[in-house]
Symmetry: C2
Subunit: 147 residues, 2 copies
DNA sequence: ACAATATAGTTATCATGGTAACTATGTTAA
DNA sequence: TTAACATAGTTACCATGATAACTATATTGT
């Protein structure tokens, strides 16, 4: 993700808001700030993931399986839905994660179309390995932000 | 951009924070919320831009040129730097924007390597056309968010 | 029962982000 | 002056997001 490093000034946004009869310039300024901050945070996190040979998408896949109460697997479509990513991207990502033995997939016994996706033991271990650094990275970023 | 639609619960984040000795679980929760909200807002904005045959990147290019005080053009590298995007992506994007006559480029008179990028009249008009809807979209999104 | 429809996943293809390596131009220092 | 280095932009290539169209399976309504 990318965004403006320097946001428009408050006066500028207020000027636009007046011209376009937008009622809440402060909310707009907040949204722009949010997008910029997220863009910077995502750059940090991408760097962290990449250093560990993974990606935000792979990480989220592992997280949503791991955090599921009562079940130890999810359908591919459920994962895609929870992460808000298209199914073709999910297909490709899951395939590569199976190759790397982070997850295991098998056809659902009660629906021949669906695939159950579970974490392997090494997938679980890997997730536990990278989680602390993920939280630390976010925590550090937020600390810098509020300076 | 994509992200978890359902964030981990506060208890869950606090549990992680404790295990990984992260001091400020609230800040982490805030960061996750920020990423989710931004991801949803970006989806809205992408839809808006796409409806108008443009993209967030093209929009930001026009914005940073338009808002520049004193000057009516910027170097390609200045634009890339301000939007935090790589130079090869800038090259490609500017090329297509020249084809669509939104911008004009010419070699800088004082540095044969550099290219000056200016908005054309129709680029300026187009920017003014889409700006109100952009602000409205952000404003509406933020209104929904604070419900 | 079975035709029509819906759903899960995949394939093909495109769009758009990135890095590495290159060319051309400019700057600096021996 | 000119060799070494720095900088602007481009090219080549890869990674990863999307949509459309497809296959296979399941469900629904007559």
């Amino acid at each position: 993700m990318f965004f403006l490093k320097e946001l428009p000034s408050q006066q500028m946004v207020e000027g636009y808001a007046k011209r376009f009869s937008v009622k809440d310039p402060t909310a707009v300024q907040g949204a722009l700030t949010m997008m910029r901050d997220t863009s910077l945070l995502l750059r940090e996190l991408e760097g962290y993931f990449s250093k560990h040979g993974t990606s935000q998408l792979r990480f989220l896949v592992m997280i949503v399986i791991d955090r599921e109460p009562q079940r130890d697997s999810l359908l591919a479509s459920e994962i895609a839905e929870r992460i808000d990513v298209s199914r073709p991207v999910m297909t490709r990502t899951l395939k590569s994660m199976v190759e790397d033995e982070l997850i295991a997939m098998e056809t659902n016994s009660s629906d021949g179309r669906a695939k159950c996706v579970a974490l392997t033991k090494s997938g679980e271990n890997f997730l536990q390995e990278i989680l602390p650094g993920y939280f630390k990275a976010i925590s550090n970023f937020m600390k810098e932000l509020n300076k």
